[in-house]
Amino acid sequence: MGGTTTVPAAGLRTELRGFREVQRLAYDCAEAVAARLEPGVTEREAARMQRAWLRERGVRDWFHLPFAWFGDRTAFAGFRVPLQFFPTNRRLEPGMPFILDMAPVHRGFTADIGYSGALGPNPVQQRLAADLAAHRELILREVRERRPLREIYEDVDRLMVRQGCANRHRAYPFGVIAHKVDRVRERRLSPRLFGFGTQSLKGLAGDALHGHREGWSPLWSPYRFSDHPPHPGLWAVEPHLGFRGTGAKFEEILVVTDSADPEESAFWLDDDLPHVRRWTEGT
């Protein structure tokens, strides 16, 4: 597919159902793997567990291969080159925060999710995870107001500073807080480049080309190329908070349409996700 996919209203629901299913599948995987984490497990092992769990359930292609970050790597402490994102032999210890991040493609639908937790009680991690709720609200509200993405990015930044935290999604390639995801053609082979599925990269590259001509970008960044109102499509949004060696994020799909009705113009693909449930239980 790729390109400027303004999904026709009729097909929208079936289309979204596909995305919702794979996003749920990914979060189920995250919860299942998180429940199996114990002291001594390495990041590589955690990543492999995610991969195996999803492969067993029919996932053959990836937007990107699963990541796992433990300890101060959840806040990307000292990250300089993108290779540092890949899982290492860092072992999980009691009380350590962790993040699982995976982007499976299932039946052509892509999900990209992030799941934060800690092995046992970790008050700082719990605080950060709770603070993310305000960002989820802020992003949705400002996207509905059709504010330029760059300004929303800066508002998220300001909220993080007020909260006393640091913006850690700035460490991602291009400093993105979100990127577009799309349907991917199912192929027999699914080669990958630096952990990213080539089909998905192709889609992103196509978007970038179209966007370049039309004045928008599939990457939501702090830079000038994101100085445009939200573009219709599916955005995997991933605000990432860091505070002195502890990081927390969520990642899920925000649906943006060209509807004039604010409620319809943007909404989270699914509100029944682990972090959202935790917030509603907490209040």
């Binding site: 008050p123 700082v124 605080r127 007020r162 006393g164």
Partner: protein, 585 residues
Amino acid sequence: MTVPDGVRERWVRTGGVELCVAELGDPRRPTVVLVHGYPDSKEVWSEVAARLADAFHVVLYDVRGHGRSTAPSPLRGGFTLEKLTDDFLAVADAVSPDRPVHLVGHDWGSVQSWEFVTVKRTEGRIASFTSMSGPSLDHFGHWINKRLRRPTPRRVGQLLGQGAKSWYVYLLHTPVLPELAWRGPLGRRWPGILERVEKVPGGDYPTSSLPSDAAHGAWLYRDNVRPRLRRPREDAYAHAPVQLVTPLGDAFLSERLYDGLELWVPHLTRRTLPAKHWVPRTRPDRLADWITEFVTATEDGRSGTAANGKHADRFGGQLVLVTGAGNGIGRATAFAFAEAGARVVAVDRDAEAAARTAELSRLIGAPDAWAEAVDVSDEQAMEKLAARVAAEYGVVDVLVNNAGIGLSGSFFDTTPEDWKKVLDVNLWGVIHGCRLFGRQMAERGQGGHIVNTASAAAFQPSRALPAYGTSKAAVLMLSECLRAELADQGIGVTAICPGLVNTNITSTAHFVGMDAEEEKRRQQRTARLYGARNYPPEKVADAVLEAVVHNRAVVPVTPEARGAHLMSRFAPRVLRRLARVNPPL
């Protein structure tokens, strides 16, 4: 002895001597035994004991031959560590027969307590040990041997350093002379020497028994030092958790003596204190605090303390007040102190931001943290704050006057109101802080530190920052003058001079001589410029802690600030040329 009412005295008979034992506080509480050093008697502990008596059963005794305890006869051979261990066990059995005691030793009291805590026969009788200014002679012996066996230049330097500090030990080994000196002129002059050189406050310490304490106590050295240093015990492992308090200004003991102590002590908590040798007299508040924390932790079954950030040895339990703690450098500084285990008072005019700082501080290691919503330029509010802090949290150990606002634009566009506003916060805020909290520190007389946030603009002139630069230059000079005045009282003053640091001072700064829209545009561009420079406030916070630890006077932070500071001394004309450049905003 200046101890509160309710001191109970008893005599314990052991090994041919009678020991005078004093007890304070409720005997049902954990027992803390305080052992004095040389030349001292148990009265050296009076200030600390009084502070501990509310929470603990405090026991002090005069070591044999000191104070009101009797001396062994003959003196030679009567002061061996074995006999001192007998004495301790006799006292412990008398005051706390069924529960192990918490041991605290200073100077020779610590030397003998090391023996108590490392010999087999006291196992189960000691719950914890707080050591100050007195190493184990066995550990010391091994320390010397290790350095003699492989004398690298550094090790030789350490040996010579400690060798020079031990001059009095050699003198005490000469026969008769020390006794004559102590019973003669030295004994008479000693209180004056302590007050002048060691800054020990006068009053009823030392006691009148000093000459005979000092004369008898010489045998502590003669009976133990040579045999133990020649043949140190191989099994001197501590069987209880140890808290090591190291005064950094100790004239008699190098802090290097405790390198590698972890080999001998499985559960070691390190503390450092910027003070001289007689800490029980000069820093009773801090000691009482650390002893209380350590004893309580041990009683609760924890070993050591929660905070393990950088400089936790120095700031653990201290009270730190930071103004402008709602964001930027102030908030980062509060967090850095919190990680080091300090108690934090976060002051900001934005109540919500201050509360947030306090909340996060508690999460990362501060035993306690409070938020106070105060505008530092408001004299009365600051006075109320000072009174409240003193009454509720205690005397501030480290004060960080950090709150400040930005103001940029031509001198002629700066109105008197603009001037007043910037001086009120940036200068008067600092003056109020120093005046109120500095006075509390000085009156307590137990040291402290004041950090004032100046700026690189204090020595780098700029046509764009006449008012801001003036206010910060004033803060720098105020800090220097105050440093001179407070030096004698053990209170350090530091001016921190950051350059371009990524905080939101840029988006709240006032730009004069333009309309609101242009001002907003400038604020945004400055914020992006500072963001691109991206020097994090956390690094400034680290510099603040370093500056306090090393008692630095002026600390430029960021390369551009260091460069400007150097140039202000060696090439001021270059700075003047730079000052004429209009910043490209």
